[in-house]
Subunit: 368 residues, 2 copies
Amino acid sequence: MPPRLTPLVESLPATVPFVGPETQERTRGRAFAARLGANENVFGPSPDAVAAMAAADAGIWCYGDPENHDLKMALAAHHGIPPETIMVGEGIDALLGYLVRLIVTPGTPVVTSAGAYPTFNYHVAGFGGTVHAVPYRDDAEDPDAILNALRDTGAPLAYFANPDNPMGSWHPADRVQALIDGVPENALLCLDEAYIEFAPAGTAPPLDPDNDRVIRMRTFSKAYGMAGARVGYAIGHPDLIAAFNKIRNHFGMNRSAQAGALAALADQDWLAATVSRVEDARDRLSAIARENGLAPLPSATNFVTIDCGGDGDRARAILAALIERDIFVRMPFVAPQDRCIRLSAGRPDDLDLLAERLPEALAAVGPA
Amino acid sequence: MPPRLTPLVESLPATVPFVGPETQERTRGRAFAARLGANENVFGPSPDAVAAMAAADAGIWCYGDPENHDLKMALAAHHGIPPETIMVGEGIDALLGYLVRLIVTPGTPVVTSAGAYPTFNYHVAGFGGTVHAVPYRDDAEDPDAILNALRDTGAPLAYFANPDNPMGSWHPADRVQALIDGVPENALLCLDEAYIEFAPAGTAPPLDPDNDRVIRMRTFSKAYGMAGARVGYAIGHPDLIAAFNKIRNHFGMNRSAQAGALAALADQDWLAATVSRVEDARDRLSAIARENGLAPLPSATNFVTIDCGGDGDRARAILAALIERDIFVRMPFVAPQDRCIRLSAGRPDDLDLLAERLPEALAAVGPA
């Protein structure tokens, strides 16, 4: 008789939120020529960060500092907030897992949007919570619907991304602040700002870690170009931040990644240059889409979501035709957003390839 | 009103299993001169691993492969076992957390030894389990006591380390196999073999992932010298290994660490040289202890646990005197093992320093 697993684990599906591009490459037996599906930042990290990681690699025999002290102090200075309001973790994915574990037990209602970040839902399900998903409105997450659902369900936790993935849409700071202000007593808004550095000024409400109704998620995976390093951080009330210490994997951070993130944060010029390159790439992505009769949506991120002008089947067919042509790309999961495909900002070479192969893909799929 | 945390989280202490040396350095305001407290491998990883990590750092903008495919295939070939019996994770600490989560709910009894690896207990407590700790026998974990406790408590999970940390003791393979064979139906033995590469031949029972009563934990943190990279792996029955996919952080692995571990595994000559260096260092550590009237215990690990010939207070005083003299060292937590201090294998320079400062520390503490 095999070991006894928990009833919750037995009930969980074996599916995973995302299939990695390497898995697809192995299945296809062929590498992708352009990697535009995972919203990775092809422009890469600051050369200072690469150098800092390489310098740290020889010292990898040491465990990383479990307090992430140096990075936390640098982040505190960068944001002008106390260090005790910051929790560094192994990417936002890990921090979301810890956050859900702090709040969710079997049956706990949790609010998000249908089609929003599936890894959050994965964690909620993994701790037995019940996801209440409200619809998008105008291809954007809907703050009013989130607030209504929080009130209706009595959920202690809601997820809201600004800017949004997978649509690239965003709300101005005052709208998001109104959402934060509307969070009921005893509830918490998880505000995922993974893409915030790409967004126009005035998108992020001021950081206010005295407010215990919101926790902000930030990352080095997107604008800082370090997805493979696994460095994210949460900003919140010190009591909530301290609670992570009760459950987190204290020695979970890669030591070179800590050094790399510190160097990346210090190189704000590189960050600004990256943001500018991403803007150019978004413009070009949008132009390529239009040239092919497709409708790019506005984006405050490092990707452009493109309305393929049909239903989910049409978008899936175009997606498959691009993948067949060695362009790694993903798409929103939930209707009506699944009429779109999502393309990450690429280097000029990546986008040249897209400009060449998108028409071929569309021709292969045929008219709408 | 702050957000509502789970009753379990509210009940957890804020203490953590280990304080990092960097924290101590900040408190002291002074760096350690020798880092011999965390069983890190000062001889470091294979130069091939360092080169592989450095080469991968520029590509850190990509997420790591969530399947850890290449590393898993290499481990499968190395051990002669099917890849579906291997789960790679962010160090054994993370894998222990996942394992406990698979099996433990509030009130679940779990068996370990009093004074064994505290991070395992931390995870058990973190999921609400109840630790039943059996005593060491002759400074070693006691297989019979583990089996008796499994039967008495009906626990679905037990932890056993071979070789043991913090004592350095070990059991021969046939004794461990008898333990595995005695695990009751529906229960699982977590066999932590973090230090196995340092142990004499005949310490590890044959790998047998058809057996669903045992899961083996291995790591690149110790003999492979990559503690800061966070790469561990579990070997177990494919059904159990597959269950990790329901709850793990799929994109949690650092991409450079994946590449480094792959290169480290390929350089078995470096591993053999490291093991030989560690043997020399153990011999020297033991000689230094004896020269100072202390009694080194036999060790199959990269550390030597040293009987200070008194009680816990005396060992703690010697520990404090060493730390004051800039030697980072730790000690067992639980009596009567807390009569000892634990020193990791150091480079010749580290041990020269220890040879110089241990007599000073002992003189400062005074006679037993």
